[in-house]
């Protein structure tokens, strides 16, 4: 059943015919896959649908009106800012309305109070440039410079620059969102006036509701505007140089400098990170996977594989790099001082400085996640952990061990234990594990590995980021809560009793496991005895599950 004509007409009165379409070709342009973040997995193939219609509002008020119509006519909808975050930011049920927020692109910089208000359509590189030209900076999330600032801040929002700038929820100030019932919620100091300056406002801090650990992927309303804190950087220009594909920011070396150190052992590597943090120097301190170096060196995919297949488990195990970004925030002298401190630390620990280009190709302005797809064609970060630095360094090897069982289809990576770095001057440690595969292969192993990592994390007591709407809620909830899953559903039912806002998230991964026969062998947990959905959704999901089963039969 398509979106009711009457409802469609009502939507059209809000944005005009130019910004609403149910044309199949327009809708095809909003397909999640076949490639992209987490695409090429079973989850994407089973759980994503083309939109029934697409609408492009221009303001919070238009979003509010759209949502109210959706609730009135029970039209499922999903907010969409850039679409980069793969299947989880795309339609999951048939005849869903995709609310494309790219036209919410207003931007204001408050130079007096050192924050900026951004709309959902503003991306990071735009924001960062506005900051840099004023002597400030923000974190461009690991998702990349092309990510929506708001979407990234309510989901992830970190990068190596979090070493000093800190975690994303600390930078979210006044925020405006449209709740699933169409009411506008103003958070922080915005709740009591026209003041975006404070993240804290009256009553409970709803930023937790907004993002939790890694966000709720649009199932609890739509953030339309947000004030984001800007941090002081340094005054000199970082000059763009080169012609694509060989472009970089030339760094003013007396104020900004990357230095790579090769450490003699993992112990020395981790110790160096601790010592740098204790000394409170640096703008970023990170270890990077060895294959990223191969990506950076290679001229093309084929050259990458030539380089990478020359590596061995030994070379990977013995690769202990510490990349440090030094920033003379206050003066050239400060950078000199920091560099001297760093040299002392490294000398004690046996770190050898390597020739490092006086430029930045990634992280300061061009967080370049797109390069991750060069090697195999498909990629997802299967998990990330923000905990202690100690845990961060232990997390990756456990993943690497489990991954052996699923390689292939996962990329041969010689046992690379992932990526770790320091956050908040060492008060936090970060670990991320990335996997790569070719989507044209049998990807059952990818789906299995993704889910098995949850069980592994539970066994190892790793409190990871993707336990919420990214994994089966009834697998992770009882173990992490013990009633985390029940609370999640209570919150969902309280704010979105009709479940029109991006259904069936946060229960979508449970739904996927139920639908996909190749996942059944991994199901070791209890699902709720009764349906958790309202009737309309229960009926629609049952029909779609049946349709999927029939399509599998046909393929057989």
């Amino acid at each position: 059943m398509a979106i009711l004509k009457e409802a469609y007409k009502a939507l059209e009165t809000i944005v005009g015919a130019r910004y609403l379409s149910d044309d199949p070709v327009i809708c095809q342009g909003y397909q999640s896959g076949p490639a992209g973040y987490e695409n090429g997995t079973g989850y994407e193939r089973v759980m994503t649908k083309l939109p029934g219609a697409v609408i492009l509002p221009r303001s919070t008020e238009e979003v509010q009106k759209i949502v109210k119509i959706c609730v009135r006519y029970t039209i499922p909808y999903v907010p969409y800012s850039t679409g980069f975050y793969g299947p989880r930011s795309h339609c999951h049920v048939g005849n869903e309305l995709l609310i494309d927020l790219k036209r919410l692109n207003d931007f204001e910089f408050d130079e007096k109070h050192w924050y900026a208000t951004v709309g959902s359509g503003v991306v990071y590189s735009q924001f960062q440039e506005e900051c840099l030209r004023r002597g400030g900076y923000v974190v461009i999330g690991g998702g990349g410079a092309q990510a929506s600032v708001i979407a990234n801040l309510i989901g992830d929002g970190w990068s190596p620059l979090s070493h000093r700038i800190g975690l994303p929820h600390r930078r979210i100030l006044g925020t405006e969102m449209v709740l699933p019932d169409g009411e506008i919620l103003r958070m922080g100091s915005l709740a009591v006036g026209d003041d975006w300056y404070w993240g804290d406002g009256i009553g409970p801090d709803l930023r937790g509701l907004l993002r939790g650990y890694t966000g709720l992927r649009g199932c609890l309303g739509i953030v339309t505007r947000m004030a984001v804190k800007v941090l002081p950087f340094q005054p000199e220009r970082l000059q763009p140089t080169g012609i694509s594909p060989n472009t970089a920011l030339a760094l003013p070396e007396k104020r900004v400098k990357w230095i790579n150190y090769i450490m003699p052992s993992k112990e020395a590597q981790v110790k160096a990170m601790y010592e740098i943090c204790k000394a409170e120097i640096g703008g970023a301190v990170t270890k990077v996977p060895l294959f990223w170096r191969a990506i950076a060196k290679a001229e093309c995919k084929e050259e990458f594989w030539d380089l990478w297949l020359k590596e061995t488990p030994e070379t990977v195990a013995n690769f202990h790099i510490v990349r440090v970004l030094l920033i003379g925030f206050t003066s050239e002298e400060q950078l000199t001082y920091d560099e001297n401190v760093l040299s002392d630390i490294m000398m004690e620990l046996g770190g050898q400085p390597r020739r490092t280009k006086p430029s930045d190709e990634s992280w300061i302005k061009n967080a370049d996640s797109a390069g991750m797809w060069l090697m195999c064609g498909s990629y997802v970060s299967v998990d990330y952990v923000i905990e202690t630095l100690k845990q961060a360094t232990e997390h990756g090897p456990v993943y690497a061990e489990l991954k052996k069982k699923y390689t292939p289809p996962l990329m041969p990576d010689h046992g690379d234990p992932g990526w770790f770095q320091t956050f908040e001057l060492g008060y936090q440690g970060y670990s991320e594990f990335l996997i790569y595969w070719d989507q044209d292969e049998d990807t059952t192993g990818v789906d299995h590995f993704y889910l098995e990592t949850s069980k592994m994390n539970i066994d190892h007591r790793f409190y990871t980021a993707l336990i919420g709407p990214h994994q089966p809620l009834y697998l992770t909830g009882p173990k992490y809560g013990p009633n985390y899953h029940e609370w999640m559903l209570k919150i969902k039912n309280e704010f979105d009793p009709t479940w029109t806002c991006h259904p069936p998230v946060p229960f979508a991964h449970d739904e996927f496991v139920e639908r996909a026969p190749w996942m059944h062998e991994l199901k070791t947990w209890e699902s709720p005895k009764k349906s958790i959905y309202p009737k309309w959704l229960e009926k629609q999901l049952a029909a779609e599950a049946r349709e999927f089963r029939e399509s599998l039969q046909e393929r057989k």
């Binding site: 076949p34 790219k102 735009q126 694509s244 302005k365 061009n366 064609g377 070719d438």
Partner: protein
């Protein structure tokens, strides 16, 4: 490991199934390259997706649409044709993607148009009219073929035989004679003998761009043969679209390499730069104006030489034999800037989006004829940038750009003078 045979022929959309299925929606094709991102203003480089905001109009949407076409999940419809053809194929998406992923976006878009023609639904009516004009009178405007050399004035010296052959093209022959005259006078002033084709025909740019490859190939063969018969060693173009045709598309249509052409293809911007360095181009008359330069797509990011390739795609999508990707690095970026900067009196100011990040004027490759509102929207968008930097004169090296900008300036009453590169040089030469 099984492999798939693949080549770069745009006559089979399946050749690009891999590329279309690997687009990750990073939208690098839409944004100015992030290193050069200028902030919230002037941050995009896709004329189609600025004209229409739905994702379907960006390359990331078109890759999904093209993939669905290959999978036979989409039927032809007026909307599908609009999405495929409302696009100047300016190459911004292609070079953007090749920064990270090396997907053949530009060729995928071309292959979709070829398929439209093969299936009998394309090109657009305006393109068919151009094709009829070319068939009847050898130029895209349907003007009298006999008037083709009407631009020549008695003061211009044309050699009967020379190493350099100036291929004037349809626009400079009919609608923009000032460009042809300026080019010829620069050659005369620098003591560079040149000849013309005895019977010049259209280069075939629109035909090739809209997917009418058979017709374009015929013109390519004819034009190359005619140049060969003159013994010319270099073919000069003052039109960017013509330059791309001769340097890139003719070899592509004939399945040969640019290096295999029996002559060299040069654009006026690079020849002028060469003459300047040799000392024969002496620009002594001051041009007192604040001038900016617009990179025409076909002499910049679309200008990498062509090399045929066929091979196999195997494990993890790797190909063999090695494929030299065309990433837009051979564009004529430095040459025009060097020439303009050497004109006395000029206050040269760069636009915000330049070189591979330039925002296309929106007129080229059949767009203005079929989608005039797209062309005018792009021109106006670019003119905002011209005003932002306070330039008085906007210079481009392509008559299509010049006409499109000039029309927008005229309609909006803007205080910007639009000039071709050749006209600007001519203005700097002593009378």
């Amino acid at each position: 490991m099984p492999t798939t045979k693949v080549n770069l022929e745009t006559t089979d959309l399946n050749n690009y199934k891999y590329d279309m299925s690997r687009c990750i929606k990073c939208k690098g094709c839409y944004w100015v390259e992030h290193t050069y991102m200028p902030g919230v203003k002037f941050s995009t480089r896709c004329p189609s997706n600025v004209w229409n905001d739905f994702d379907a109009y960006g390359a990331f949407g078109k890759m999904r649409i093209g993939h669905a076409m290959v999978e036979k999940k989409l039927d032809w419809s007026p909307k599908l044709l609009e999405i495929i053809y409302a696009d100047p194929l300016c190459g911004a998406c292609d070079v953007a993607c090749k920064r990270n992923l090396d997907l053949e976006i530009g060729l995928s878009l071309e292959a979709m148009r070829v398929k439209a023609v093969q299936d009998g639904v394309g090109p657009m009516p305006a393109h068919k009219k151009i094709a009829r004009n070319i068939a009847a009178s050898h130029n895209c405007f349907g003007s009298e073929h006999g008037d083709r050399k009407g631009w020549l004035t008695p003061d211009i010296q044309v050699a009967a035989k020379a190493d350099l052959l100036y291929f004037v093209g349809c626009t400079a022959s009919y609608t923009n004679p000032e460009i042809a005259r300026a080019t010829a006078k620069i050659l005369n002033a620098t003591g560079t003998p040149f000849m013309l084709m005895e019977d010049e025909w259209c280069c075939g740019n629109t035909l090739q761009s809209v997917g009418m490859l058979d017709e374009a190939r015929e013109l390519a063969r004819r034009n190359i043969d005619r140049v060969k018969s003159t013994g010319a060693r270099r073919v000069l173009l003052s039109c960017a679209e013509g330059y791309r045709m001769w340097k890139v598309e003719y070899p592509k249509l004939l399945n040969i390499a640019t290096a295999d052409l029996p002559f060299e293809v040069v654009h006026l911007t690079e020849l002028a730069d060469e003459l300047l360095r040799q000392g024969s181009l002496r620009m002594t008359r001051p041009v007192n104006a604040r001038v900016t330069y617009h990179d025409s797509c076909s002499i910049s990011r679309l200008a990498d030489p062509w090399t045929p390739w066929s091979g196999e795609r195997g494990w993890m999508g790797t190909v063999s034999p090695p494929l030299k990707r065309r990433r837009g690095t051979h564009g004529l970026y430095a040459q025009p800037r060097n020439v303009i900067s050497n004109i006395p009196g000029i206050d040269f100011v760069e636009m915000i989006r330049i070189r591979e990040n330039a925002f296309c004027c929106g007129a080229g490759r059949g767009t203005k004829e079929a989608f005039p509102t797209l062309a005018s929207s792009s021109a106006r968008h670019r003119l905002e940038e011209v005003k932002e930097i306070g330039a008085e004169v906007l210079v481009s090296a392509c008559p299509w750009c010049k006409n499109n900008f000039a029309q927008a300036v005229r309609e909006d009453g803007e205080a910007v003078k639009v000039m071709d590169f050749a006209e600007l040089i001519l203005a700097s030469l002593e009378a």
